[in-house]
Every structure is written in structure tokens, then in C-alpha cells.
Symmetry: C2
Subunit: 214 residues, 2 copies
């Protein structure tokens, strides 16, 4: 059963906490989005942690350099997982993985912007990455892209647990679930909904329905 990761992005932490409080029983993992961390600092994780003491918390740091520093920063703030960019230098990714392994945390590599995703996914798997994220960015979505074909490509390349992100809504779920991602990351479909709890329920219902067909 894929886990639902709620991405809290493009909103301030007060609104994020309000939404999280509403939908918390319906989601499995919580992501402090890059934009929220850049705006307010890593301390936002502590505010989120108070709402979800027992769920996995992801710091979407999109680390491009200073892998050890960023991993310490994330875990010190209470994260279970941090993201690094797949296009970062191997030494950055390996440094983040080493800190994660020492501290009982995990690293998710985000393939956004990586030109040869299949080859890079295989390299990341060999490095010992914990998750590979297939992610169509907001600006890429505006340019008409979706994560589905990349998810199929990466799925065929590695057995590493995959996460998938990029404008995902309930109507996308059936095709996504067939490719067995470990984590489905959803942001604006829930956070920008008039009724976030209803949106999260629709998403979970779609996943349950799709899993019956697998």
C-alpha cells in the first residue's frame, strides 16, 4: 500500500499547521516544503512535529552541496528523512547518506532536473539511497510535464523504494499505483482545496480503489 506524503509548500506554517491538523488521520508522512523552509527556517519542523509526533517527517531541503551539514540540520530539527538533489555531486549525496545511516534517518534523492534519470537512479541505488523521488516540478508542470513516464522509466531500472510527486490528484492514482511507488506525494490538491479533509479523503479512496485492481 503506498504511503501518502503531504507536502506543505507555498503557505506559511500557521496555515500549514491548520491544514495538517485537519487531514492528519488521512495521511502517512508530512513534508516541510522547500519554500516553507526557505521562508521560515528549519524550525518549522518542530511546529509540524507537535501535530504528528508519530509520523515520518520529511525536510525537503533539496540539497545541492554540503550534504553532511544539511543532513545534520534536518535530523537535529527532528526530520526522519531529508531530500537531496539527484543532480548533486556524488560526494554530497554520499555524505548525506552517511549522516543519515549514523543517525537512523533516511535520504530521498529527488530526480528533478536530472537528464538521464534511469542511469542516475541506478547510480543512486548503488550509493545506498533510501528513496528515489520522481518529481515533476511546479514550473515543469506549467510547461505540460507529468511524472508518470519518468516513474515507469525509473521503476524498470531499480528496486529502491520510489516516491512520486508533481501535481498528483485522485484521477492520476490508478496509473501511478500500477508502478508500485512506496510513497505518493501530494501537495496543492490538498493544501489548496476548499475542504482539505475532503480532498485527502478522495485521495485515499482513490488509492484504496486502485489497490484492489493491482
Amino acid at each position: 500500500m503506498p504511503l501518502i506524503q503531504l507536502a506543505l509548500d507555498f503557505i506559511d506554517s500557521t496555515i500549514a499547521i491548520d491544514i495538517l491538523t485537519q487531514v492528519e488521520p488521512l495521511i502517512d508522512m508530512v513534508e516541510a516544503g522547500t519554500s516553507m523552509i526557505k521562508r521560515e527556517g528549519i524550525g518549522v519542523l518542530e511546529s509540524l512535529r507537535r501535530i504528528v509526533p508519530h509520523k515520518q517527517l520529511v525536510a525537503d531541503l533539496k540539497t545541492m552541496d554540503d550534504g553532511a551539514y544539511d543532513a545534520e540540520l534536518a535530523f537535529d530539527a527532528g526530520a526522519d528523512i531529508l531530500t537531496v538533489l539527484g543532480c548533486a555531486h556524488d560526494s554530497t549525496i554520499l555524505a548525506a547518506i552517511a549522516v543519515a545511516n549514523a543517525r537512523g534517518g533516511q535520504v530521498m534523492a529527488d530526480l528533478i532536473g536530472v537528464p538521464y534519470k534511469r542511469r542516475r537512479a541506478q547510480q543512486l541505488a548503488r550509493m545506498g539511497i533510501h528513496y528515489i523521488g520522481v518529481h515533476t516540478g511546479s514550473d515543469e508542470q506549467a510547461a505540460g510535464m507529468t511524472p508518470l513516464s519518468d516513474l515507469a522509466l525509473v521503476r524498470s531500472a531499480v528496486s529502491t523504494p520510489l516516491a512520486v510527486a508533481g501535481g498528483i490528484k485522485p484521477t492520476d492514482i490508478e496509473a501511478i499505483v500500477l508502478l508500485s511507488p512506496a510513497v505518493i506525494i501530494v501537495g496543492s490538491y490538498i493544501t489548496r482545496a476548499a475542504d482539505p479533509r475532503s480532498a485527502a479523503t478522495d485521495l485515499r479512496t482513490a488509492i484504496n480503489a486502485a489497490m484492489q485492481g493491482v
Copy 2:
């Protein structure tokens, strides 16, 4: 004459402000480093601005997605320049440039992690980027890399103003100045010095000496 950009990174803003107060007359531009922004949030720019009301302030956001959002975030906080990653999607970089042009700011694209730097620099120049940053990351430096050969490669490819960063110290200046960068970015040589003011003086002296040979 190349400008000196002081990169304030891996230190908290209290220490950064102390160092900046000491060396402010000796440097031209001030960068709020990625790690400081992730740790404390974009508000650190306002603290730096109070020390340097009339110098250019750079928000090293290393934007990989959400180009318009990050550019608004940086300029709202008082930045003159934000950084985007050269490996970001064109739509992200173009969105940041559009916001910068509308608001009288500028965008510096950081080539860290870009595999074909010459070709990407030419593409960035055509997009209307304001600066191209040739940057050897901390983790790359630990793996033995330096920015010099990349600077020569990119210099031969574009006429866009260049910035150069990556463990630069006074003994590197002569070779760098021959490649005419607009901006020389220096961080730890000053920020980790026992006497930051003396380190900044040594750097400026090296630049003055090297310029007499050009």
C-alpha cells in the same frame, strides 16, 4: 576590477553580522548563504541589510523549482540578486529572470552540478541571465576539485558577467583575475579566519596586485 562577494555560510546570523561589521569596508557584495537561509529563514537578509544599506545583497537560494516564488521571496526580503541552479528547468530560470526584471533585481545562475557547463552557459546567456556563477561546491572541493578550469571554459563561451566561487584564497587570485570574472566570491577564507579583517585585507591586496599585471 572584480567585486568581492562575501559568502556568509555555515555560521549563525549573529556571528555573520559580527564578521560583516568587521570587514564591510573591504568587500563589495554580501551573500546570505544557502545554509544560513535554510537554518534561519529568509529574514536573515534584513539583519544583513542593516549592516550594509548600500551594498548588493545576494540571496543564495539555489532555486531548483518555483522560480517566480523564490524570486519574489528574495526581493521581498531585500535582496538585489538571487541564485538559481543552472541545472534547473529552463522554465524555472526564465520565471526567476522575469520577476527580477520586473522588480529591478538580478539572477545569478550557479553552474554547480551542471555536466556540460559551456553549453549550459550559452543557453543561460540566451535566456538573459544577469550573472553566471562558476562554483565548485564544498563537497566537490573535498573531492579535490577547483573552479579554475571551469572558469576558463565558461569565459571562452559567453560574454555574460561571471562570478567564481569555491574555496578561493589570495594565492588563487592571480590565475582567476586573468579570466576577468565580474565577481569573486569568498567565504571561509574570511569567515573562518582568526582575524577576518586581516584576511579580507589580504584578499583585496591580492586582487589589487593581480590587476596591475592584467
